[in-house]
Subunit: 218 residues, 2 copies
């Protein structure tokens, strides 16, 4: 086995070990739940609230910016590059309805992260060509977030994606702590979760469980 | 009566004489309808398609950018400052859910226009304080776009708004060509319309009718 990462990673890639994607609909108080996840060791937060107006999103982004800074964690804003810039986020995450990577890069500059949601190895390869810094790949497992929208890719699909690109690949979609070892073995740099952390009654312990599974897996 | 503006205005304020606000739901082909409105003399187009993803919006913005350039007309993008920048629009128009004017200014720079939708003289005064370049004010008349959401302001409300600010005030909401003289007399710099132009079977003639009403009014 390779060198074991510390449980509190600090390099940009290592921060992607556990990305918490927000959905304020699954928890009572989103900033509180995110703060707990950060205490539990999460070092990347993707703000993704598609039905929020820009003003409300900016206010939430600024709150999460303060929290993530306290924990040296990355804040990534989904889709809205203007909000990412306004909140001084560390980057933006792009979906299929978002601006192209090249346009995002021009607006965000060379130093901010650009992540892209991908659902096939060829999509991931295209994101790499276009200049993405990382991709998420999924849904690896069945998840209510994507049910009926995109085919479940499985661990084999993930492994194929990892082989197709040189970028860090973050596994997403129905990921539980017990999946982590297989995802790591398939070459994922980390996992992204919504409900697994934020819908937990104890987001801090939930985050810790994902990270411990990563470090402890044989 | 003051000096009569030419029917094809060219200064930034004069371009606001007739702002066509888009709604692709009211016409068969939006770029065609906008092109016709530009041929009819409109010199400001506000791209406002709230349910469009950023990628689709950018593609449409780029099309309208080419059309507006051909007619030396301004292109203003509603809400999405990232799309405004990506399409090299002349500015952005902000509603109540949009980023604050100060944030928008920082992202857009000093030269691009920032417009703000206002519904009372005090909102208009606040937009001016925050650094807006122009405001729209309305709904001056009853309109299906805002029915049940905001009180109709009337021509008197418009006149009050004009007195409250030094900014150009564009009247919006149910405006027909026969209203134009009273709006001009109340101090509006121009009118903004959706259906009045785009839902017309002849958008070119419709645009021409608004501009002629402005010039011909006693």
């Amino acid at each position: 086995m390779e060198n074991r990462p510390s449980q509190i990673p600090s390099t940009p890639s290592a921060r992607l070990r556990l990305m918490v994607i927000t959905d304020r609909g699954v928890c009572a108080n989103l900033p509180d739940a995110v703060a707990a996840a950060l205490r539990g060791g999460a070092r990347a937060v993707q703000l993704r609230e598609k039905d929020m107006g820009a003003l409300e999103l900016l206010e939430l982004a600024r709150r999460l910016r303060r929290l993530t800074r306290e924990h040296s964690a990355s804040l990534i804003v989904n889709d809205r590059i203007d909000v990412a810039l306004a909140a001084d986020a560390d980057g933006a995450h792009l979906g299929w309805r978002s601006l192209p990577v090249g346009v995002a890069r021009r607006l965000l500059g060379p130093d901010r992260l650009i992540g892209v949601s991908t659902h096939s190895p060829s999509e991931a390869a295209r994101a790499q060509e276009q200049g993405a810094d990382y991709v998420t790949f999924g849904p690896v497992f069945d998840t209510p977030s994507k049910r009926g929208l995109v085919a479940t890719q499985g661990v084999e699909g993930l492994a194929e994606c990892v082989r197709a690109v040189d970028l860090p690949v973050v596994a997403v979609g129905g990921v539980l702590p017990e999946h982590v070892a297989s995802l790591r073995d398939a070459g994922a740099i980390g996992v992204a979760v919504i409900r697994g952390v934020l819908a937990s009654p104890r987001p801090e312990e939930a985050a810790r469980a994902y990270l411990a599974a990563w470090d402890d897996a044989p």
